[in-house]
Structures are given as structure tokens and as C-alpha cells.
Amino acid sequence: MDTAKVRVSSVKISLAVLPLLLLLLWPPVAANWMYLGVVGVTPLLPQGDQEAQNLSTSSAVSICQHLPGLVQQQVAVCQDHPDAIKSVSAGARRGITECQYQFRHERWNCTTTHEDPDVPFGHIIKRGSKETAFIYAITSAGVVHAVTQACSSGNLTDCYCDMSKQGLSTPEGWKWGGCSDNLNFGNQFARQFVDAPEKEWHKKEKKFRNLMNLHNNEAGRQERKSELVHIHSSPNYCKSKPKKGILGTSGRQCNKTSSGPDSCSFLCCGRGYNTKAVKYIERCHCKFVWCCRVECKNCVTKVDVHTCK
């Protein structure tokens, strides 16, 4: 627990670009586990060690310590369920993909960065804005989904078999009356793993921000839609502010005819845009053919491409 915190703080200091004020205002928020979704599990393991790659062996327990940025409880959960860490990574990745799809037309488009493992979404995640709320909810939902899928394909062996009614242990209980479904395990696992850093920080610093993250994690896990909570307003994401993790919208493609968030006037924040006439040989009248190709005709179109200044 302490090592994790020291790690996070030391990174901040070594960056030395954040004003001290920011550090005081925003508690060190550990969203590091989401990094697993950006890079995956395999590159983080000791290379060339076949046994270590085989996560179901007992040596896998040590793998959990190799993964950077997990808090103590997460390491413990990982050691309990070493197979599940792959699902965490897959789930976070699925969450990020979904986030990028949902926000593809917005000024902030859910860009991730490989540069700093502690802040996979850039420093923007330190602000308690509605974008952060969405990141927490969608990655938490991704983990539940991935763990549940791994349970039902049999790739994860840890999933529960609820036999409380008969009071029998697993093999006998399963033969007697079968098992319940896998959804429970995914939820419980995510609650233990994903919520761990927030709970830990909250215990120490009693910041409202941690409660917000916990709420949004839970909201993501619920099947029915529930409201996300945020405590800060969103910045406008217009200008590039690398210190705050804002990339800016310069260079983004915009839609001249749209009146939504992807419209040129909104997306370019009034800076105007460049227009280039491009001749496309476009694929059209497409059809997805199982499996795995898209059959299309070629259509030649002339398009004006608008990019924000």
C-alpha cells in the first residue's frame, strides 16, 4: 500500500511539471490498473520465461508483483486469481475501445497514452469531470464483462458454483444440482479489484473524489443505466495543454454540415479550419461476409476534408 503511494508520488515529483497546487488540490488518483488495458499483460511479464507466461502455474503468483502500479489489495486479488489478470487487461481494453467509439466526435476523444503507466488517459483523469466519470464506469464495466466471458468459456477456473442451498462442496454439489450462472463472480471480482485503489485512498485521505470514482465504478457494473457522478466541470479541451493532459483539437477532422459536437464551428473552437479537396476511391455498397471480409464495390468520390486549425 505504501509502496504504491510512494511510487505514484515519486512519479509526480520526477515529472516536476505539475504545480504544487495541483498536487494539493487533486489527490494522487491511482487509475494505474487501467494501464493494463493499454499495453496488455504479456509485455509486462519477465520475458523469455515460459513458465511465467503460463499464468495458471503457481509461479504466476509472482507475476502479480511484476505488474506495475497495483495497490496492495490488487496484488492480493491478483495472487488469488492469477488467471483473471488477463481478463482485467482485456476488459480495460474493451472499455477504452468503447470510450473512444462513444467520444469519437467530441472535442475530447478518449485518447490514451503509452508514455506514463500511471496515467493511461493522460493527466485529464485527475480532474473529477464527467469524462473521468465515464472512463471509470466504462473500464469497470469492461472488467465485469471480460471476467464473465472468461468464466463462461472455461478459461477462468476460479468462478463460483453457488451451491449454498444444498450445502455441498463443489464437485459433489455440481453433480447433485448444477451451478448458478457466472455473472456474480464477474461483479464480485471487479468490486474487489477495480475498487481497491479508491477504497485505499479514501481510507487515508477521505477525499470526496474517491467516493465519486467508487460510485462510477459501481454504476458501470450495474446492468441497468444509473447516473454517473462528477464533481468538477469539464475543461473545454480546445487548446493543447500538455500539463493538464489536454491534447487540443488542432488537426482533428470536422464535419462542415453537422450541427453536433463534430461540427467544424464547435470542434475547432472558432479557430477556423483548413479545407482540402481529396479524391477518394471509396468502398461502397459493402457487406460483411462471414468470415472475415467485407465485400464492397469501389466508388470514386470527391470530398472536401476539413481539419481544425
Partner: protein, 563 residues
């Protein structure tokens, strides 16, 4: 049929017997509800998607353990280029492990059914497509399916082929207009895949392929973005089998003893057995066949034919029960040509309805289950000819059932008409005839009441089962597994019903000499019983000397004019 025990039993003995049977019935219900688990359990398994550029139909692709795992991929998007549908294998290895324990099937789990659940996602490229019918996707699914098994102690990669087949199934999916966005799923109908009549081995492996080309023909082109295949594996619960087989083990000797006792009673008669007695005997025999706990055999030997045999045994019992009701009603018509009725030939029209229905269902069952003995992936419903044939047999069986109920209702109505007619003239009859008719009416009414009670309980139970969620909670600790309780309850009910028939409708001829007219004696006894209901011990007195029971009947029936 001569006098039956039910008429001669004192009220107290009768109530003790009925109470015993009722307790027995309640036990059956509670056994299913409190001890047994649900009859079946299903586990939905997500197929592990594997690929092999050199797909080999004799190679088995498995998802566990890690060392033997095939080359898998998560999503179609991350698939290497150049891989076609022919190279993709959906792997289902069951049972799936739980709580870090490798599970294996037990032979108590009896059977395995697989249902295919496709996960088709909406693709941006689907936009231009106009639905050709009420479903957005309606296409033929061609599945190359292979099934293998492994037993404990086998090497991890040793799989013994069980069946393989290329099957056509219909895929129907639809999507709401507001969900026509990438990332949303179509909702597809479930597709029956296979049925294994015996679950004899420990582990099963299912390899499915949805190829593009098959024997030079292009197939599976209309599938759209099928991302995942899931299979719901449904098996009988071991606990339910144990409770069920115990029930059979208890009822089997009970019914056999009752049957032997009944048969001995008939053998002691001087006359040949009446038709109705033969009918009860036959019903008892059919129930004994059904009760025979053959399921023990499946624990030792691989018996894929057990489900077929089970269907036949059940069919024989229900056919016997239906025939019995017909003949029972017929034999109580109280027409004056009673001797004529005492023959099977008199019921040929009615019984042919029962027989016809049973034959239709038997042929249908053999077409489906019979073929499944050789190919578990076979289903009669997938081809148009098969569907029509199956429907034809089921409709024919339905017509037979309709005819049967018409016959039965007509007969019962006739009996009631006759009863009210006879009741009016009872006082005018000689005491002999009056007692005889009173006996007939009493026997008929008792059975009618019992049968209606049984039928009503079955129907009410069935409806309650449909309404409730399958499990009822009394409080935190006690919950009632309703579906199981219904099954064991109904099974116990027909056993109790048949036992009651064997005991109460056996010919009554205790201790008195054979030459005497049972008919008259029991009539006399009935009269006495009515006079003095407290009398517990039945005493027998000579009433009239007649050569035999049957001749007494004949004599009675032959002189209607005197009344």
C-alpha cells in the same frame, strides 16, 4: 366384474387405507420439493475461437489445459489476414471448471442436450440491407459439428470421436431500429444442436465450424458479423436422478407385491377373469415396467437407447391407463347385454383411437430419438419434409386424442344417465338386483372421484408450475423446488392410483366356499354395512347357493323382465 373389495371394506378400514395412500403421495411430493434439486441444469458455455490454417478434420481442438490449447483469438478484428471461415473452429470443452476445481460429468447426470446461441453483432455495413421478412437475418446456418469424449486417466490430448456431422439449421435474428448501431447485438432464436441419450463419459469436446465452402458449394454467406457462438449444455441433475431412481426402487416391489396378490385372487375364482380385472392387471404390469429401475444399468453400461426405452415405457403405461378408463366406463354402463360387453372386441373402436395415437407418437419418437442413436446432431425439424412429417404424426395423434376424449365423455355421460334412471327404479327392484346396481354405482362413483381428483391435481400442479418461477420460498431456510416436486408428485400419484385400484378393485372372496354367489353375498354385506356402519369385522353368511359367480351374474342379467 363381480363384487370388489371396495364395497366390502368397512368405513374405518377404507379410511385407514386411503390415509396411508395419501401420506405416501405427500411423501413423494415433499421428496421432490425438499430433497431433490431442479430436474435439469444448464450451463451456457462461450466457445473459444481458434484458428488453424491447415484445418484437419481428424485433429481435435481443445481450450484446456494451457499446454494443449489451440491458437485462439478474441475478436474477429484482431484476426490475422488471410484466415477464412474454414480455418476458424469454435471449441467447447465441458464441463467447465469452477472454484479452481476440474469438474467431470457423473453418470447420474444421465443425458446432455446442446443448444446453439449465436452472438451476431450489428455491422455498419448492414445498413443498406433490407430485411426480406419479419427477421433482419434469416439464413441457413451450415454447421460442421464434431463431438468427442475423454475419460479420467486419459492423456490430456486423447479424445475419442463420438459423432460428426454436417448439419443445416435455420438462423433467425432481429434487431430493434434504435439499436441499429455498431456494438449492438441482434437477438437470435435458439438453435437445437444435439441430444446425447447417455452421459457415460467424463469430459466432452465439441468442435464447430461454420465453413464458407463445403463440397464446392458456398455456404454461410448471410451470417453477417457473427462474433461468438455459445452453447447451452443442459443435463439432468444427478440429485434428481438419485431421488427419481429411489422412488422407482421403492414403488417397484410394492406394485409387484400388489400385482401378485391381485393375480392370486383372480386365480382363486372359479370363473375366468372378467375383462376389467384383466385391464387392471395389465395396468399394473405396465406400471411395473415403468417402475423397473433400469437407470441403475446406465451407471455401468453405455445405454444411449435408454431415453427411447423410457419413452416407450411411459407410452405403454399411459396407453394402459387410457384404455382402462374406457373399459371401466364401458363395463359400468349397466346395459342389459352385460355378458356381451365383457369382451375386448366390444371396444375395438375406442381402443383403436388409443392405439392409433400411441403408434403415431411412437413413429414420431423413433424418427427423432431413434435416428439420434446414430447421429446425436440429427433433428427431424430442420428439413421441410421432416417438419411436415413430424407435424403430420403429431396432428394425427392429436386427432386420436380428440376422438378418445369424445368416446370417453360420451360413455361417462351414458353411465350417469343410466345411474339416474336406475336410481329411480331401485326401490321397485328385487333386493338382489338393487344391491347389485348399488354396488356398481358405488364402484363407479368412487373411481370417478379418485380419477377426477388425480387429473385435477395434475392440471393444477402443472399450471402452478408455469406460473411460479420454479422455486418457492417458505422462509429463509426452506425453499421448495417446485418443478421436481411436480414430477415426483405426479409419478407418485399414478403409482398410488394404480396401487389403490389393485387393492380395492380386486375381486372380494374371502374365506367363503367357491360355489357361493359372491355377488349376492357382497350385496348382503353392503346392506349390512349401511345399516351398521360401526361394524368393523365383516361376517359372511350364506345368502344363496349358486353354481358360480359368473353364472350368478348371467342369471341376474338374464331376468330383467322380472323387475
Amino acid at each position: 366384474m363381480g363384487g370388489a373389495i371396495i364395497e366390502n371394506l368397512s368405513g374405518r378400514k377404507l379410511s385407514v387405507l386411503i390415509a396411508l395412500l395419501m401420506i405416501c403421495q405427500l411423501c413423494c411430493f415433499l421428496l421432490g420439493g425438499l430433497i431433490a434439486p431442479a430436474p435439469t441444469s444448464a450451463s451456457t458455455v462461450l466457445g473459444t475461437k481458434c484458428y488453424d490454417r491447415n484445418y484437419n478434420s481428424s485433429k481435435w481442438y481443445q481450450s484446456r489445459p494451457v499446454k494443449q490449447m489451440c491458437h485462439s483469438f478474441d475478436s474477429l478484428d484482431e484476426l490475422e489476414s488471410g484466415i477464412t471461415a474454414d480455418d476458424i473452429i469454435f471449441v467447447f470443452q465441458v464441463p467447465i471448471p469452477r472454484e479452481k476445481t476440474i469438474l467431470d460429468f457423473s453418470r447420474w447426470q444421465q443425458n446432455l442436450i446442446g443448444t446453439l446461441i449465436p452472438e451476431v453483432f450489428y455491422d455498419e455495413n448492414d445498413t443498406g440491407k433490407q430485411p426480406s421478412s419479419q427477421h433482419d437475418i434469416e439464413t441457413q446456418l451450415t454447421v460442421d459439428a464434431r463431438l468427442a469424449y475423454q475419460n479420467k486417466g486419459d492423456p490430456d490430448d486423447k479424445w475419442t470421436p463420438l459423432a460428426s456431422s454436417v448439419e443445416e439449421r435455420k438462423l433467425e435474428c432481429s434487431i430493434l431500429a434504435e439499436h441499429r448501431k455498431p456494438g449492438y447485438q441482434y437477438s437470435c432464436s435458439l438453435i437445437p444442436l444435439f441430444e446425447l441419450g447417455s452421459l457415460h463419459h467424463d469430459f466432452y469436446l465439441l468442435n464447430l465450424r461454420l465453413p464458407n465452402k463445403l463440397a464446392g458449394k458456398e455456404v454461410n454467406r448471410g451470417l453477417s458479423r457473427l462474433e461468438n457462438l455459445m452453447v447451452a449444455f443442459i443435463n439432468q441433475n444427478g440429485g434428481f436422478t438419485k431421488v427419481w431412481v429411489s422412488l422407482k426402487t421403492v414403488f417397484f416391489p410394492l406394485v409387484v407385491v400388489a400385482l401378485v396378490w391381485f393375480w392370486r385372487r383372480i386365480c382363486l375364482l372359479a370363473r375366468p377373469p372378467a375383462l376389467l380385472e384383466c385391464c387392471i392387471l395389465e395396468l399394473g404390469a405396465a406400471l411395473t415396467l415403468l417402475n423397473l429401475p433400469l437407470e441403475y444399468l446406465t451407471l455401468l453400461v453405455d445405454c444411449p437407447w435408454m431415453t427411447v426405452l423410457g419413452d416407450i415405457r411411459q407410452g405403454v403405461f399411459y396407453a394402459s391407463l387410457l384404455s382402462f378408463w374406457l373399459i371401466f366406463a364401458g363395463e359400468h354402463l349397466m346395459f342389459e347385454d352385460e355378458v356381451e360387453r365383457n369382451r375386448l372386441r366390444a371396444y375395438w373402436r375406442h381402443l383403436s383411437a388409443v392405439l392409433g395415437g400411441c403408434v403415431c407418437l411412437f413413429i414420431f419418437d423413433m424418427c427423432e430419438r431413434g435416428v439420434q442413436l446414430t447421429n446425436p446432431f440429427y433433428s427431424i425439424w430442420v428439413t421441410d419434409i421432416g417438419t411436415n412429417l413430424a407435424l403430420a404424426f403429431i396432428i394425427l395423434a392429436g386427432i386420436c386424442a380428440g376422438l378418445y376424449f369424445c368416446f370417453l365423455s360420451y360413455m361417462i355421460w351414458k353411465v350417469f344417465v343410466n345411474i339416474s334412471a336406475k336410481r329411480n327404479s331401485l326401490t321397485a327392484m328385487s333386493s338382489n338386483r338393487r344391491l347389485k346396481y348399488q354396488g356398481i354405482i358405488y364402484r363407479f362413483k368412487a373411481l370417478m372421484l379418485a380419477t377426477l381428483l388425480c387429473a385435477a391435481m395434475t392440471v393444477i400442479g402443472f399450471i402452478l408450475g408455469q406460473v411460479s418461477e420454479g422455486r418457492w420460498k417458505w422462509d429463509e431456510d426452506i425453499s421448495l423446488e417446485y418443478t421436481s416436486a411436480f414430477f415426483t408428485g405426479v409419478y407418485g400419484m399414478w403409482n398410488v392410483y394404480t396401487l389403490a385400484l389393485l387393492c380395492l378393485y380386486a375381486p372380494s372372496h374371502k374365506k367363503w366356499p367357491r360355489e357361493e354367489s359372491v355377488q349376492s353375498i357382497h350385496g348382503e354385506l353392503l346392506a349390512r354395512d349401511q345399516l351398521n356402519s360401526q361394524s368393523e369385522e365383516i361376517e359372511f353368511s350364506r345368502f344363496a347357493a349358486e353354481p358360480s359367480e359368473l353364472s350368478a351374474l348371467t342369471a341376474l342379467a338374464g331376468k330383467p323382465a322380472t323387475d
